[in-house]
C-alpha cells in the first residue's frame, strides 16, 4: 500500500510537470502570468498557513516579510547599469551597487534576510498572544514599509525599483510551489508539526507535555517568514517593478483570504484556494470594466472586484468557517473503491 502511494505521488508529480510544460508552451503571456501568480500565491499561502493555521499564531506581518524578500532579491539580481539608472535622486550604497547574482542564490538570500528579521522581531513579539500579536505584527509590517520609503540610498525610497530582471517563469514559481508543498507536508507530519498543532490546540497543555513553546513558535515564525520572503522575491522579479506602496496591508489581506477560504490548517486547502482565488482575481477584473451583453452595456465600477472579495471572505467566515477543506488533507484513500466499514469513515 505504501509503495502504491509513493508511485501515485510520483505519477501525479509527473502529470503536474507535464501539464505545466504544455501550459508553458501554449498559453499567451497573460495566462502565463496568472499561472506564475498561482505558484507564487501557493508559496505565500502555505507560509502564512504554517504560522496562522498550524501553530495558531495569528500574524498579519506577511506584507513586511514579502517586502524584505522582494527588495533583497531585486537588488542583488539587477545589473549595475540599471541600478544607477534607478537611483538618480540619491546614489545607491557602493556595496549593493557591485553585487549581481543569479536567481537561485538571490531568492535564498531574500528568504534568509526575511527569516533573519523574523528572528529579530519574533523574539520579543511572540511573547504576545491573540489580537496583541496580530496588531504587533501588523505594526511591524507597516514599520518596514515606512523604513523602506525612507532609506533612499538602499531602496530608492518611494520611487521604487524599476527594470528588475524578469527571471520568474513557470518553472521557478511552480518549482518553489512544489518544493514548499513537499517541505510543508513533511514538516507538518513530523515531530515539529505535531508540536505546532499541540500549541494551536492548547498552549498550556502543550507546555505541560514538555513542548518548548517559545522555541516552536519561533521556528514556525522563521520558516513562514523565509517562504514569505522567497514568495516576495518571486513576485518582484515577475512584475519587474516594486515600490513600498505595493506592500500595504491589502497584500496581507489577500493572503489571509486565500488561507481562510482554503481552510485554516490545511495544506491542500491552501493550494486549491491559492489557485482559485488567483484565477478569480483576474476573471473578476471584468467587473471593473464595462460589460456588454447584446445591446445592453453595464457600466463597470472600479473597485467592485475588491467588494466581491471582501464579501466572499465575510461569507466564508460567517457561514462556512471551515473553508474548502477545513483541516482535512488530500489523500489517495479517497480514490480507493474498497467499501469502508462505517467505523472508519472519519479516519
Amino acid at each position: 500500500m505504501k509503495n502504491k502511494r509513493i508511485l501515485l505521488n510520483i505519477l501525479s508529480l509527473i502529470l503536474v510537470l507535464g501539464l505545466l510544460f504544455l501550459m508553458d508552451r501554449n498559453f499567451d503571456s497573460y495566462k502565463i502570468r496568472i499561472l506564475n501568480l498561482c505558484g507564487i500565491y501557493i508559496v505565500l499561502a502555505l507560509s502564512m498557513n504554517l504560522i496562522n493555521g498550524f501553530t495558531g499564531l495569528f500574524t498579519l506581518g506577511h506584507a513586511g516579510f514579502m517586502a524584505i524578500g522582494a527588495y533583497t532579491t531585486a537588488l542583488v539580481t539587477m545589473d549595475k547599469a540599471t541600478k544607477e539608472m534607478n537611483f538618480f535622486l540619491k546614489p545607491i550604497v557602493p556595496f549593493l551597487r557591485d553585487v549581481e547574482m543569479s536567481f537561485l542564490p538571490a531568492l535564498l538570500i531574500g528568504g534568509l534576510m526575511s527569516a533573519l528579521v523574523a528572528i529579530i522581531i519574533g523574539t520579543p513579539v511572540l511573547k504576545l498572544r491573540d489580537d496583541y500579536l496580530a496588531i504587533a505584527t501588523l505594526g511591524f509590517s507597516e514599520i518596514i514599509r515606512v523604513i523602506f520609503t525612507n532609506i533612499q540610498s538602499i531602496t530608492n525610497g518611494a520611487l521604487g525599483l524599476k527594470g528588475i530582471p524578469n527571471y520568474t517563469n513557470v518553472w521557478w514559481s511552480w518549482g518553489w510551489a512544489i518544493v514548499t508543498i513537499i517541505f510543508m507536508i513533511y514538516l507538518v507530519k513530523g515531530s515539529y508539526g505535531r508540536a505546532f498543532k499541540a500549541i494551536r490546540e492548547d498552549e498550556i497543555a502543550a507546555e505541560a507535555m514538555g513542548i518548548n513553546l517559545f522555541k516552536h513558535k519561533l521556528i514556525s515564525f522563521i520558516i513562514g517568514a523565509f517562504f514569505a520572503g522567497v514568495g516576495g522575491g518571486l513576485l518582484g522579479n515577475l512584475l519587474g517593478t516594486i515600490d513600498p506602496l505595493m506592500f500595504r496591508f491589502v497584500l496581507t489581506f489577500n493572503i489571509v483570504l486565500i488561507v481562510v477560504l482554503g481552510g485554516i490548517g490545511s495544506i491542500t486547502g491552501s493550494v486549491l484556494s491559492a489557485i482559485i482565488v488567483t484565477i478569480l482575481m483576474e476573471a473578476l477584473r471584468i467587473l471593473d470594466g464595462d460589460i456588454i451583453i447584446g445591446n445592453y452595456k453595464i457600466i463597470g465600477i472600479p473597485g467592485m472586484r475588491m467588494v466581491v472579495f471582501s464579501l466572499m471572505l465575510m461569507g466564508v467566515i460567517l457561514f462556512y468557517q471551515k473553508g474548502i477543506m477545513g483541516t482535512n488533507e488530500f489523500s489517495w484513500d479517497w480514490f480507493s473503491f474498497k467499501k469502508k466499514s462505517k467505523g472508519d469513515v472519519n479516519s
Binding site: N52, G56, F58, P124, V125, K127, L128, D130, D131, Y132, A134, I135, A136, L138, G139, F140, E142, I143, V146, I147, T149, N150, I204, F249, V250, F253, V256, V260, I264, I301, P302, G303, M304, M306, V307, F309, S310, L311, L313, M314, I317, L318, Q321
Partner: protein
C-alpha cells in the same frame, strides 16, 4: 525654535491628540466588553465624514443639522455592522472574529470606493470652524480650539453615562464577566449594541472634526487613523477609557512634536505609533492604565 512656533505645534498636537482620543474610546469600549478589535472602526469613522459631506453638499442641509444627522446615522450604522459581522460569531474562536472584522473593514472601504468614488473630495468650509484666529502672534484655525473643548464635553457625558446610569452599570458588569452578567438578567445583545452605537457616535464626531480640520476626504482615510487610535487604546491600556484618552494625547502630541523638533525624522512620522505600540507591548503589555490580567486555565 521660537515660543510662537512651539505653541503652534503644541496646539496642533493637542487637537490631534483629542481626535485620536475620541476615536480610541470606541476601540476601548468594544474591546472592554467583547474582547475583540473592531477593525472596522476606522471605516465607521470614514462613513461618518462622508455622511456629513453629502448632507451638506448634495442635500444642502445647514451644517449643524448635517452634523447631527450624520452622527446619529453613523451610530445606527455602527450597530448594523455589529449585528451583521460580529453577532453571528459570538461563540466562535477569536481568530474567526478577527478575520470577520478585517473583512468588514475591507468591505466598507471598497464599498466606499465604489459608492463615493476613489478621488479625494474636499470638505466644505464652515465659517465658524475655519476662521483664523491670531493670538499673540500665533495664528490658529479655530477648529483647533473647538476640538479639545468638544472632546472634553463628550468625555464628561460619557463618564456620566458609564458611572451613573443603569446601562452604564450593565456595561461595566459585562466587561468584568460576560457569563455572570448574562445570569444577572442583563440583555447582553442590547448592551453590546449600545456600546457599538456609543463608540460609533464618538468616531463620527471625531471623523467630522477630522474632515473640518484636514478638509480632504477619500474612502481609505479611515485606515491609518483607525490603526493609530487602536494603538492609542493599547498604549493607554485597552478596555480603560481614561487610558484611551491618555494614549490618544501621547500619540497626537508625540507625532506632532517629533516632526517639530526632529525634522529629519518627518518621513518616519507614521512609524512612530507602531514603534510606540511594540515598545509598550514589550514593557507593559496591558498598557499604562491597564490592570494585570490573570491567566485563566
Amino acid at each position: 525654535m521660537t515660543f510662537q512656533i512651539f505653541m503652534q505645534h503644541l496646539s496642533n498636537g493637542i487637537s490631534l491628540g483629542s481626535l485620536y482620543a475620541l476615536i480610541a474610546i470606541g476601540y476601548t469600549m468594544v474591546y472592554g466588553i467583547l474582547r475583540l478589535i473592531n477593525f472596522a472602526h476606522g471605516e465607521i469613522f470614514m462613513i461618518g465624514v462622508y455622511m456629513a459631506f453629502y448632507l451638506i453638499t448634495l442635500v444642502a442641509v445647514p451644517w449643524y443639522l448635517a452634523f447631527i444627522i450624520a452622527i446619529l446615522g453613523t451610530c445606527l450604522f455602527g450597530i448594523l455592522v455589529e449585528k451583521a459581522a460580529y453577532k453571528p460569531l459570538r461563540n466562535s474562536p477569536r481568530i474567526s472574529v478577527m478575520i470577520s472584522a478585517i473583512g468588514a473593514s475591507f468591505l466598507l472601504q471598497n464599498l466606499g470606493i465604489v459608492v463615493f468614488g476613489g478621488r479625494p473630495k474636499s470638505f466644505p468650509e464652515i465659517p465658524m470652524f475655519n476662521k483664523i484666529l491670531n493670538i499673540g502672534g500665533i495664528s490658529i484655525v479655530s477648529i483647533t480650539f473647538y476640538i479639545p473643548i468638544i472632546t472634553i464635553i463628550l468625555l464628561l457625558i460619557l463618564n456620566y453615562v458609564i458611572n451613573n446610569t443603569k446601562t452604564g452599570m450593565a456595561m461595566r458588569a459585562l466587561s468584568k464577566d460576560y457569563e455572570a452578567a448574562r445570569l444577572m438578567a442583563i440583555d447582553v445583545d442590547k448592551i453590546i449594541s449600545i456600546t457599538f452605537g456609543l463608540g460609533s457616535l464618538l468616531a463620527a464626531v471625531g471623523g467630522i472634526m477630522w474632515g473640518v480640520k484636514f478638509t480632504s476626504l477619500i474612502p481609505v482615510m479611515g485606515l491609518m487613523p483607525g490603526l493609530k487610535c487602536f494603538i492609542a487604546a493599547v498604549v493607554g491600556g485597552i478596555g480603560n477609557i481614561r487610558g484611551a484618552v491618555i494614549g490618544g494625547f501621547i500619540l497626537g502630541l508625540g507625532e506632532i512634536l517629533i516632526v517639530a523638533f526632529l525634522p529629519a525624522l518627518t518621513g518616519y512620522r507614521d512609524a512612530f505609533a507602531f514603534i510606540l505600540l511594540i515598545f509598550i507591548l514589550l514593557v507593559k503589555p496591558t498598557g499604562l492604565m491597564g490592570e494585570k490580567l490573570t491567566e485563566k486555565v
